[in-house]
């Protein structure tokens, strides 16, 4: 529309955002929670003057930096990269609203980087007080960056009282922000603990006593985290807009996933309580890996749900999944989707100049005069710019499959009543003529009903032919 659409066959380009965002969150939550736990534990170790604990924490810090500063930071930038490619209009809008939020975030990134390196490289060379302070500078900076970014992603799910004439603060303090901050704070502590178990299980394999200490102390952070996840998650659920609640209830996949998240969180909680908290020291590498994978599964699923329930919007009530502004929809419906999009219009002008009227706009009547083959091709353009954000052709959520066995009429009905067929689809944003073109295109893709299925009395084709006397005739040919 406003921007060229990036077509990634079978996958759809927004899936790349999901991919990067998910792997990023595993590390970025650790970057925050791990910072807090490390600062807290280093302070403790200095207080009780436990040299071996300090040594362990130092080795953990290197692991932490290698993961967060490299992989975490670059995949974070990677999300930017990808949203600009696959959701350009939403990104443009978010950056206009939150540019200074991101600029502030950047200040804290710089603080994180500088403090993390000093914390690690000057370990043992700075006096204890300064070293602790630098650890806490990291923790606070990382935490504030979590708060800032959460306000922005929360805004996408519910813009609250924000309207385009209102500035960043109204957008930032939306009904979703605080519950999500609580949930993510919890997730960050929980996940950080699982990383520590994982690392300690290997690193301190033969130092039973120290490992027991590390496990026991870490489990307190972890249980606090688990509690926060539960509180934040529940608060979040009661605060999500009705459409998101309905999406959770209506989409079977999301439904199953959210049960899975709760189940995984509960299992982790129990394992924590009876494991490292009550009986520290028994976590072996196998268990640590299991814990870790459960934590990753719960976090990944949680984030997936958070993204999933946003449909049909990318920014609630502001930008829809097909990359148009909610406010432009009425105009697109009356003057045409192809006509309203910069790139669709340019494409039509280059390939079908005959459909333009003297004022330079696409004329529906002329569109309908195109030969059938061309109508299918125009339908494809509509599909790319209106549907490909969520549907591929034959791969992920493929329309060829979704419309298997459908008649043209059925397809046409769904196309013209998209939002009624499923409220998590945007409404049809084009004209009736355009709906016709898209229908032609979808009908050309739609898979036939699977053969061999029957309902009612069994019919043996050969017997049937025998009965109406066509068998011999055909056989004779």
């Amino acid at each position: 529309m406003h921007y060229p659409w990036w077509y990634v066959p079978n996958l759809t380009s927004p899936m790349l955002i999901a991919l990067i965002a998910t792997v990023h969150v595993f590390v970025s939550l650790y970057a925050v929670g791990g910072g807090i736990v490390l600062a807290g534990e280093v302070s403790y170790a200095y207080k009780v003057n436990n040299k071996s604990l300090l040594d362990y924490l130092k080795s953990h810090t290197l692991f932490f930096i290698l993961l967060t500063v490299v992989f975490g930071a670059i995949t974070g930038v990677g999300i930017w990269w990808t949203i600009g490619l696959a959701s350009p209009l939403a990104t443009e809008s978010l950056i206009h609203i939150f540019v200074f939020g991101w600029a502030m975030e950047y200040v804290f990134f710089v603080l994180e980087i500088v403090s993390a390196f000093i914390f690690h490289y000057y370990w043992g060379r700075l006096d204890a007080g300064t070293h602790k302070t630098i650890g806490w500078i990291y923790a606070v900076a990382a935490y504030i960056s979590l708060v800032l970014i959460t306000g922005i992603t929360a805004f996408q799910l519910d813009i609250g009282n924000w309207t385009p004439d209102k500035g960043m603060w109204v957008a930032f303090f939306n009904p979703q922000t605080f519950p999500q901050i609580i949930a993510r704070s919890g997730a960050s502590l929980l996940l950080a603990s699982l990383y520590i178990y994982l690392h300690a299980a290997f690193k301190l394999k033969n130092d039973h006593q120290l490992r027991a200490l590390v496990e026991n102390r870490t489990s307190k952070w972890a249980m606090a985290g688990a509690a926060l996840v539960t509180i934040g998650g529940a608060w979040w659920y009661f605060n999500i807009p009705p459409s998101a609640k309905a999406a959770l209830a209506g989409a079977s996949a999301l439904n199953i996933l959210s049960i899975l998240v709760f189940a995984a969180s509960a299992v982790v909680f129990f394992m924590l309580f009876f494991g490292p908290y009550r009986n520290p020291g028994w976590i072996n590498p196998g268990f640590a890996i299991l814990y870790f994978l459960l934590g990753i599964a719960a976090t990944g699923t949680g984030e997936f749900i958070r993204e999933g329930v946003r449909k049909p919007y990318i920014v609630y009530n502001y930008v829809t999944g097909n990359n148009v502004l909610v406010s432009e929809i009425p105009k697109l419906q009356s003057t045409g989707y192809l006509n309203g999009g910069t790139w669709t219009k340019a494409f039509m002008k280059a390939h079908y100049p005959q459909v333009f009227d003297t004022t330079g706009n696409i004329d529906d009547a002329k569109l309908l005069q195109l030969p059938e083959g061309d109508q299918v091709k125009v339908g494809q353009v509509l599909f790319q710019y209106h549907c490909n954000n969520c549907h591929s052709v034959g791969g992920f959520s493929g329309v060829a499959e979704l419309t298997r066995g459908w008649s043209k009429d059925m397809i046409h009905t769904v196309v013209t009543h998209l939002a009624k067929a499923h409220f998590f689809m945007p409404p049809w944003c084009g004209t009736q003529a355009e709906a016709q073109m898209l229908t032609e295109y979808l009908a050309s893709l739609s898979e036939p009903s699977p053969p061999g299925m029957r309902f009612g009395k069994a019919v043996n084709p050969a017997l049937k032919q025998l009965a109406d006397g066509t068998l011999r005739e055909e056989g004779g040919k």
Partner: protein, 378 residues
Amino acid sequence: MNPQFLIGPVSPLGSPAPFWFITFFKVLGFILHMIPMNIWYAGMVLVAIYATFGKNHSLELAHRLSRTMPVIVAVGVNLGIVPLLFTQVGYYQFYYPAGILMAHAWFSVIIILIFAYYGVYVYSLSVRKNKSTKFALASAWISSIAFIFIGFLFANNFSLMSNLNSWIHIFNKTNVGGAVLGTGLNTSDPTLIPRWLMMFGLAMTTTAVFIAFDAVFFKKRDTSEDYKRWAGKFALILYVIGLVWFAAFGSWYIFGAMDKSVIAEVTAHPLIYFLFGLTAVSPGFVLVTLFVQRKGLKKGGVILATVLQVVTLSLNAVSRQWVQNVEIFRYEDISKLPVNTQWSPMIVFLILFVIGLAVVGWMIAKIAAVEKQAANIS
């Protein structure tokens, strides 16, 4: 097709800051990014070459550079966020389409960067542990090549931003039903190659100054006088090579590749002669400063060279911005788009920026004190 057709609509939200503010922070951010970026861009090539073929001082150079490289990359990547943010807010109508037209290549930057960065760490840790392996050496080579390739991709995107004829070309060639495959590159643009290679020359000059800086200010305890002398000479030679390289590709860019209409428009402004003149002569001052110290680096002299090099980079960044604006204003005067300044977030940002700088300053002062103490003891 008229290229104007491909420019998307203006955001109804209005720009959150005046155009000058956006440009200022874009350029400032780019300067801050360019310093570390230059050092890894040319520096990793030196590391790879000298780690493989170097002896004595040149091997020591490779080791010294690689020890600081992880920090340099981390800081540089971070500082790159700022210009990118302000590019997206001010130049979105041009930045997003360019990226999308070459989406696969642009997306791959992230993947390549992760490998390049871990490669830097692998080699750096091997030096720290005094265990050089074939794997570590290969990592250094892979990183250096990866960085240069990333430079190529950046040159593509940023030259594509202001070359709308290329958009048409790529759009026509790589679309499926009007949606782009994202497999384009701006290779039909004659400015691409000189723009890409130019930066390597500039990077060599910055790295040269950094080598001098490193010899004088870092790890004083184990820096021999001999190495310091060698580093001074080496920095001078590298600076000269970088400068010649930069001048060669810069001339190709300006006189051989740039659109005549852009040149005409750029040079229509009298101030530009002054700016370009300064940009052209500024590295000369650094060169003289290094030349004077060819027999021995001095603290004051190195600081002067560093400051002058930052000035050189700044002039470069300003000139680039000037040209980019001229190129883009041919299509649309984006400095005149509606503005809806977000004052209070802007002020909070500026305050946090100052506080952030102060905290960074405090931390650096702390480690400087530690280093000084260590130097006094030895």
